[in-house]
């Protein structure tokens, strides 16, 4: 119970900070909508729906990347991460709190982006939506870990995409597969498996990411 209340306090703190600073969510919303608008005009007439689903995933991954790049900025301003790391709570609670807050931002961006996608491009069925939700979990779990790793270095903007994008490829494959394959369930299984494995790995390794050697 203490672990969960620590996670809740840390998530609430991130949401409150964003509500006041408005640094992350407006940027994510603007990016995802403008990307979909550009794709709408860039796709030639008669292009199949498969290409559109691929583009949706390009928009989702890069929108998430934008949010992740800012995820640990409040902790690095004023060195707050040091006081979190010294607290007697389980350090993985810091990662989980950040993961949940990032998930909220990503879901909020998608609440606008997915209806826009349906309006401009193609319908999304239940399997495709389940794929988006499962991929979101993986993106935020892995992304929060690598964003913490990148934020500790000087070349944060360069390091984060280098670390995150290769790890996001299975999520893109799973997300697109769930949307276009007649056997979308297989891809949902792949995404669920990815989420389970990488969430456990991220949870277990976060302590080593935030502890200086």
């Amino acid at each position: 119970m203490t672990y969960l209340s620590d996670v809740a306090a840390l998530t609430r703190k991130d949401l409150r900070v964003e509500l006041r600073a408005r640094d992350t969510l407006p940027a994510m919303l603007l990016f995802v909508l403008s990307t979909l608008v550009v794709f709408h005009f860039a796709l030639p007439e008669g292009t199949g729906e498969s290409a559109a689903y691929g583009l949706l995933w390009v928009a989702i991954v890069f929108t998430a990347l934008l949010g992740l790049a800012r995820a640990w900025v409040p902790e690095h301003e004023h060195g707050v991460l040091d006081s979190l790391v010294l607290a007697p709570c389980d350090r993985s609670a810091i990662w989980l709190g950040k993961t949940l807050a990032t998930l909220v931002f990503l879901l909020a961006a998608q609440a606008v982006a997915l209806p826009a996608f349906v309006l401009f491009f193609a319908p999304l069925d239940a399997t495709a939506l389940a794929g988006v939700l499962l991929a979101d979990l993986g993106i935020c779990a892995v992304g929060s870990l690598v964003a913490a790793l990148a934020a500790a270095g000087r070349a944060r903007e360069l390091l984060l995409p280098l670390l995150f994008l290769p790890l996001a490829i299975p999520l893109v494959v799973g997300g697109v597969g769930a949307a276009i394959s007649p056997d979308g369930g297989r891809y949902l299984l792949l995404l669920a498996l990815y989420d389970a494995i990488f969430a456990v790995l991220s949870w277990a390794s976060f302590e080593y990411v935030v502890t200086e050697s």
């Binding site: 203490t2 209340s5 620590d6 306090a9 840390l10 703190k13 409150r16 900070v17 006041r20 600073a21 409040p74 301003e77 004023h78 060195g79 707050v80 040091d82 006081s83 979190l84 790391v85 010294l86 607290a87 007697p88 709570c89 200086e212 050697s213």
Partner: protein, 194 residues
């Protein structure tokens, strides 16, 4: 409380600390002095467990939850109010009777009237007072304070003098300072870094 022998720290090829020995009992104040770049902050980060020494043996006989660390930066969220910051850290540090303790510290450090203001709107001195509240919130047994007087006005400095005098009798303190005269009478030991 602390026993460190032969502490060395390197950042790449640059050696910041060499052969530093530290010994501190359960009560007392160790004053760490030295010019800029002599490694005071690095040593304090090592003692707080925030960075590991490259070489040497370090024993700190206290859990990290019983340690209070004050850095150059206030280590609080700019977008949260003073009250929200202390409430968050009070929860994470398992402070019993959290609200009462927070209220008492805000009163003592003259921040009660500003408790609902965002830290981003605080002056440097107010941020330092809030940082001191955060450091003392969980009544730590070991206090590691890096330049605690930085940014404080005369009233704030006098307040801190009284706090340190009180704490030095019952807690272990490691304090770095550019003003050794101020803390000299309180110090039970001195460490001069070159």
């Amino acid at each position: 409380m602390i026993r460190a022998t032969g502490i060395e720290k390197r950042f790449g090829r640059r050696r910041v600390l060499r052969g530093v020995d530290v010994e501190l009992d359960r009560a007392g104040l160790l004053l760490v002095t030295g010019p800029n770049g002599s490694g005071k902050t690095t040593l304090l980060r090592i003692l707080a467990g925030l960075t590991a020494p490259t070489r040497g043996a370090l024993e700190v006989a206290v859990d990290r939850g019983r340690l209070g660390y004050l850095a150059h930066e206030p280590l609080v969220y700019r977008e949260l109010t003073a009250l929200e910051n202390l409430d968050l850290f009070g929860r994470l540090y398992r402070v019993p009777e959290r609200r009462e303790r927070i209220g008492m510290l805000l009163e003592r450090f003259g921040l009660w009237d500003a408790r609902n203001e965002r830290v981003a709107a605080f002056s440097r001195g107010m941020q330092q007072r809030l940082a001191l509240c955060r450091t003392l919130l969980h009544e730590p047994e070991l206090l590691v304070l890096d330049e605690p007087y930085a940014g404080l006005d005369d009233a704030g400095s006098s307040l801190l003098d009284r706090e340190l005098e009180e704490l030095a009798g019952s807690r272990a303190l490691v304090v770095s300072s550019h003003d050794p005269e101020r803390l000299g009478p309180l110090a039970s030991g001195r460490l001069v870094l070159a």
